[in-house]
């Protein structure tokens, strides 16, 4: 590894470590990352007789989606308000390193949170080793993709977390309903299925539906490839959006 690549890696890890220490226990992170998907799931399940197999894909996808997008939107408004962002950008740390470090912390939060539904799925459904491995790969891919999605949501130059969370909720809620979280993509009406193809969450949900119940539209590898494509798109969009709004934050 070259000297500069080594430095960038250290900077990314230092930023991620700082985020883990500072932002994991913040109220909005816990509310939107843990409580929200839990109660969302309960509101869907309570009073309905459903097999665990039909519950798990939606639960895992929802936990990945909400927890991966919970930390990123908290960081930038708080760092703007506390003027710590100005300190970071006056150091020899490129903006992409800051964004990658923040996203790494978001993805790690998602991985930790997702262990609960994945373990539940393993215990209730009795997954094979191959199913578990692909589920874990899906969780990792989803965590990275949606960490940058959360990062993109935090680009507006505001210093109030509530503003970003409100904006995020306006985007995230419709995505949950159109992405085949509770009803597999194959069972969605054709019109909604067409719209759902525009959402990156659709491919993660379809991946889990396919792995856990066999009810999927796309091959698991195609789903993973599309998620990877979305990840690249979101990384670029997030970087461009933050570069554009950075001066307005100071």
């Amino acid at each position: 590894m070259t000297e500069s690549a080594n430095l960038y890696l250290r900077q990314i890890l230092a930023i991620a470590r700082k985020d883990i220490r500072v932002y994991y226990t913040k109220g909005p992170t816990l509310i939107f990352g843990l409580l929200f998907p839990f109660f969302f799931f309960l509101s869907f399940v309570v009073g309905r007789e459903m097999e665990p197999t039909t519950l798990m894909p939606g639960l895992i996808a929802m936990v990945v989606f909400f927890s991966a997008t919970a930390v990123g939107p908290v960081i930038f408004p708080i760092e703007t308000r506390g003027n710590t962002l100005e300190r970071l950008v006056s150091l020899p740390v490129p903006l992409w390193c800051i964004l990658t470090g923040d996203s790494l912390a978001s993805a790690a939060f998602c991985l930790i949170s997702s262990t609960v539904p994945v373990t539940l799925a393993y215990l209730l459904i009795g997954l094979s080793l191959g199913q578990i491995a692909l589920t874990v790969v899906g969780v990792i891919a989803g965590s990275v993709c949606f960490a940058f999605f959360g990062q993109l949501l935090s680009a507006p130059p505001v210093d109030q977390t509530s503003t970003i969370m409100m904006l995020g909720t306006m985007v995230k809620f419709p995505l949950v309903f159109i992405s085949g979280i509770f009803i597999p993509l194959v069972a969605l009406p054709e019109m909604i299925r067409f719209v759902s193809l525009l959402s990156p969450l659709t491919y993660l949900a379809d991946l889990f539906w396919g792995l856990l119940t066999g009810a999927s539209v796309f091959h698991p590898l195609l789903n993973l490839a599309i998620i990877a494509g979305w990840t690249v798109l979101l990384i670029v969009a997030s970087f461009l959006a933050h570069r554009r709004t950075l001066e307005k934050r100071l």
């Binding site: 220490r21 500072v22 100071l250």
Partner: protein
Amino acid sequence: MEQVIFAEDIVKRYGDVSAVDGISFSVQRGEIFGLLGPNGAGKTTTVRMLTGVISPSSGSISILGLDMPASANEIRKHIGVLPETANVYVDLTGQQNMALFGNLYGLKKDAITERSAQLLRKMNILEASNRLAKTYSKGMKQRLSLSMTLMTDGEVLFLDEPTSGLDAESAREIRGVISEMADEGRTILLTTHNMQEAQDLCSRVAVINRGKIAAIDTPVNLRRTFEERQSVVMQFAQPIPKERIQALAGVGEVFVTGPNVRCYTSDPGMVLTGLVELAEELGIKVISGSTETASLEDVFLELIRSKGERR
């Protein structure tokens, strides 16, 4: 001498408003250069442009011979920046804040440990370094913030209002550290709205207001201007004729509003005595009297005026 900081005709516009309007100056190696001006004068915007945090609308900047912002990342490896507020991570301990900055500067683990201990000891916060920064006083936070800036051992330091809002003791300690850093050969650009601080620390000072530089001079020369802009403010029971006041020794400009009088002077004591004697002679009672030092706005106006007269 080598120019370490060079700014030529830099402008920063936000819409139709120019926060900085055509500033030019240079700072030599080893110099403490002050940007002196009231709040909102454009000092912080200037520092942000010099450190590449924001880009100038026009003009050119060079730090250590490299163009800013084109070579921002390379330049930042050799500079330390202390922004205006004591912006440390309050949810991290002092030690964790130091380690974060050490890692971001790319220092090795041993170097981080050694340098952190050295700086925190120097700033008198070593014992508190395992406590969360949210438990620190404002002065402690500012000392921690300055320690974080110094983790890089940068040869050029940009310190934006380093003593603003601190108690006298903390401010004195910070000034002491700045002097030591200068003695170690660092080039320092310091912004302040405190004339005394500029005089005590800086070898040269640029007076800035409304985004423009009015003068660049040594503190001694600028102080002469300040002295001429001291004033005596008095209130009498009845109005006193302006021509009688102007006839007094040592009086410069005079402003009379009813029974209220303001006289600009370089010798407030003499003018105060003269005004009291004049009031006694006219049989008018003195209600109140005080002396005031020049505000930065006064100094700026005086500098603008004297520049105009020289032309």
